[in-house]
């Protein structure tokens, strides 16, 4: 069972959280402008890497905030978590 550092509440047991899949999937502003393939890409296609992965989690049994997690999908190591709408610590460092 993972220990996930909620950006607000600190490290809590995984069972307090629910996963929300890959982070950074933005809803198209004009869905009608997309053809079926592009819409399906937004809807269904996800990265699923073996390695570092940015994903969304909600602290469902805690503060009920959604946030971002950078997790290694093979080792489950968690490198960073940061609130929704903010830049990841990594990207801050790289000046993104």
């Amino acid at each position: 069972m993972l220990l996930i550092p909620c950006p607000w509440c600190g490290a809590r047991a995984e069972k307090e959280f629910k996963p929300g899949g890959e982070a950074g999937i933005v809803r198209p502003l004009d869905p009608d402008a997309l053809d079926d393939a592009a819409w399906a890409d937004y809807l269904f296609n996800r990265a699923n890497p073996k390695g570092w992965h940015r994903e969304r989690w909600i602290h469902a049994l805690g503060c009920r905030r959604w946030f971002n997690v950078e997790r290694h999908t093979a080792t489950h190591e968690i490198r960073a978590t940061w609130p929704m709408g903010e830049t990841s610590p990594d990207d801050v460092e790289r000046g993104k």
Partner: protein, 207 residues
């Protein structure tokens, strides 16, 4: 105004007060229902410092901004629930508080919601109170980590709860309040009773 005698507390069906006499002589754990506190859920946008300040003043102090802590003034306790969410716990009949808070909000964007009937509140205390909680809760409840005045939302047994630590009643005892959705109240009380059996249990008259 509606009469309190019409009102039923969330654990009324358990007839807790009728069982007080069964208490063990030297209980390691005491259980009690805290009935009818006034509970207000408050939401103010993270960046909205002006409303936060106004509401804090109306509460006679400040809104706790540190995660999982509480503030207390004049018998009213405010628990941090999230970066934009608090629970205000006031004694029964604090009707004027809601008006004061509404006035402080003054029609701006915030949400003050009465949830006084939405929670069962169970008070747990005694030498083994912490161990009972540890049977069903993942939080680190060590005295240095979960200090008096701290609060946290988490799971207890199979229910979602808000846990709040009160002042120690004796040097080797702790006291906790557990806020759980009303519909889970009976389940959680039964669970706590079962978990506490090992340490000898006393049911106390409802507050």
């Amino acid at each position: 105004m509606t009469d309190r005698s019409f009102a039923q507390s969330p654990l009324a069906a358990l007839h807790i007060d009728g069982r007080v006499a069964d208490a063990s002589a030297n209980p390691g754990v005491r259980l009690q229902e805290r009935r009818f506190p006034d509970l207000l859920n408050l939401r103010i946008a993270v960046a909205d410092h002006a409303i936060r300040q106004a509401v804090g003043q109306a509460l006679g102090g400040v809104l706790p901004h540190q995660a999982n802590t509480t503030s207390e003034a004049g018998g009213v306790v405010v628990c941090w629930l999230g970066p934009d969410e608090w629970l205000i716990i006031a004694p029964h009949g604090s009707d004027s508080l809601a008006y004061q808070l509404d006035a402080a909000i003054g029609g701006q964007h915030a949400a003050l919601t009465d949830i006084s009937d939405a929670r069962a509140v169970i008070r747990l205390s005694g030498r083994h109170a912490r161990e009972v909680l540890e049977k069903g809760c993942d939080l680190d409840l060590h005295a240095k980590i979960f200090a008096i005045g701290d609060c946290a939302q988490s799971g207890l047994a199979q229910a979602a709860v808000l846990l709040r630590r009160l002042a120690d009643p004796a040097p080797d005892e702790t006291t906790w309040e557990i806020y759980v959705e009303r519909s889970f109240g009976t389940y959680l009380w039964m669970w706590l009773e079962d978990a506490a059996l090992e340490y000898e249990l006393a049911v106390e008259i409802s507050d």
